[in-house]
């Protein structure tokens, strides 16, 4: 019963919180650029407007792909709130990512195709990092279940600080932020137009936006697990991490995918592996 309530809180609360975070993100970004920025509720207005637009699709596949992406993201969040298995969460969110790429590949537009290829490369970069983080969880708690984390006496951050840094890399990619925003970005005006999202429009773009809010909450939730002993520290950890992401987004230019693969595989996975060896040797 308690699990069911938690799942419902997750399913309803995550998009609301995710939207608010996206709104705050735009405000802070505007502040960093000495502008005023839109109201905090702006992402909700955007999505509501998208839902009110004409349903225009290139082919039927896009409808399915947009829905599967949303459902996979929602199920991953639901599993997270149900204290489920980290590996299962990983696979479910990976399915969402794959369907986003498939939706983009189903249209003939070159922008969409290039965006899809780049999204695949991004997945190639962040998915191994996520897996390493989950292996770290296993080595500390002896289980892939989130429930086992709560049984720990001291925060996980003390045992896997390097893995946290690696997770921050994955977070930057997942949030589509510079310097890793080359499959699609929030300022879709560069050479890619809007990458994977180019061919989506109206309500289906709205679905993807909501799915993105779910994913934001999922990854921030993973970050929060690193300081599970105290709610205040947990909140502080997320806030600081997210502010750092915004700062990085605003101070970095977009890089090439080769640069990303090198950095994330060498530094991100390197940090992860060093931390795992340390956990093993201890």
């Amino acid at each position: 019963m308690q699990t069911l309530i938690l799942v419902i809180i997750g399913l309803v609360g995550a998009p609301l919180l995710g939207g608010l975070i996206a709104g705050l993100d735009r405000r802070v970004t505007a502040w960093l650029q000495s502008r005023q920025g839109p109201p905090i509720m702006q992402p909700f207005y955007d999505v509501a407007k998208l839902f009110g637009k004409e349903k225009m699709v290139v082919n039927q596949w896009q409808i399915l792909c947009a829905w599967v992406y949303l459902v996979a993201a929602a199920v991953a969040v639901a599993l997270f709130f149900a204290q489920g298995d980290l590996l299962l969460i990983f696979f479910v969110q990976a399915i969402g990512g794959v369907f986003l790429v498939m939706g983009a590949l189903s249209a003939k537009s070159p922008y969409s195709q290039v965006g899809a290829q780049r999204e695949l490369l991004q997945m190639l970069a962040y998915e191994p990092v996520l897996i390493l983080v989950f292996v770290g969880f296993y080595m500390v708690t002896g289980s892939f279940s989130i429930q086992a984390v709560w049984a720990q006496e001291i925060p996980l951050l003390a045992k896997m600080p390097l893995l946290y840094l690696a997770l921050c890399y994955a977070l930057t990619i997942k949030l589509m932020k510079s310097p890793f925003d080359f499959a699609t970005s929030h300022h879709g005006h560069q050479e890619l137009v809007k990458g994977v999202l180019t061919e989506y429009s109206g309500p289906y773009l709205g679905l993807i936006e909501v799915a993105h809010w779910y994913e934001t909450i999922l990854v921030l939730g993973l970050c929060a697990l690193f300081w599970h002993t105290n709610v205040a520290w947990m909140a502080l950890l997320i806030v600081v991490t997210y502010l750092l992401e915004i700062l990085v987004d605003n101070t970095m230019a977009r890089m090439t995918w080769r640069w990303m693969l090198k950095r994330v595989w060498l530094i991100g996975m390197g940090l992860g592996v060093v931390n795992l060896i340390w956990l093993y040797a201890r």
Binding site: P38, Q42, D46, A48, K49, G52, K53, V193, K194, L205
Partner: protein, 147 residues
């Protein structure tokens, strides 16, 4: 309730796309000036997108000629309803000083329906923002009438 929220949101989140039909670049840089921190149109939820499929408002600058009228029509057709078109500057409104040239079709309204005309050579950023706001009111009204 959700329906009314959608209606309210339309005016609060106009995503604009800007198309240059061979303008002298005067109006274009005024459009881009609206995005700078001085005018900061993102305050009103206006986002400049590069994709007709995401756009609600089409800003057109410059005279329409026989070569780019097809492109203009194509971009307009790719925008999902409800949408608005705003012609910017003398050239966009009527063809301006080029209206009698042999290759010029005339204003934007010769090819696609225009909701708002923003005068000026070039149009001031304030006038452009004003035009977008007027365009939003107009397309909200259009949606009401269609139902």
């Amino acid at each position: 309730m959700f329906g009314s929220f959608i209606k309210k949101s339309r005016a609060k989140s106009p995503w604009i796309m800007h198309f240059d039909c061979g303008s002298c670049n005067g109006c274009d840089i005024e459009v881009l000036a609206c995005l700078t921190p001085l005018y900061d149109v993102e305050r009103f939820g206006i986002v400049h997108v590069g994709n007709p499929k995401h756009a609600d408002v089409l800003l057109v600058t410059g005279t329409v000629n026989h070569r780019n009228k097809k492109v203009l029509k194509n971009l307009y057709d790719q925008m999902p309803e409800p949408k608005a078109v705003i012609a910017i500057g003398s050239c966009g409104n009527s063809g301006g000083i080029f209206r009698e040239a042999y290759n010029v079709v005339g204003g934007v309204d010769k090819v696609i329906p225009v909701d708002v005309y923003v005068p000026g050579c070039p149009a001031k950023p304030e006038a452009i923002i004003d035009g977008v706001v007027a365009g939003l009111a107009k397309f909200a009204q259009k949606v009401e009438e269609a139902k």
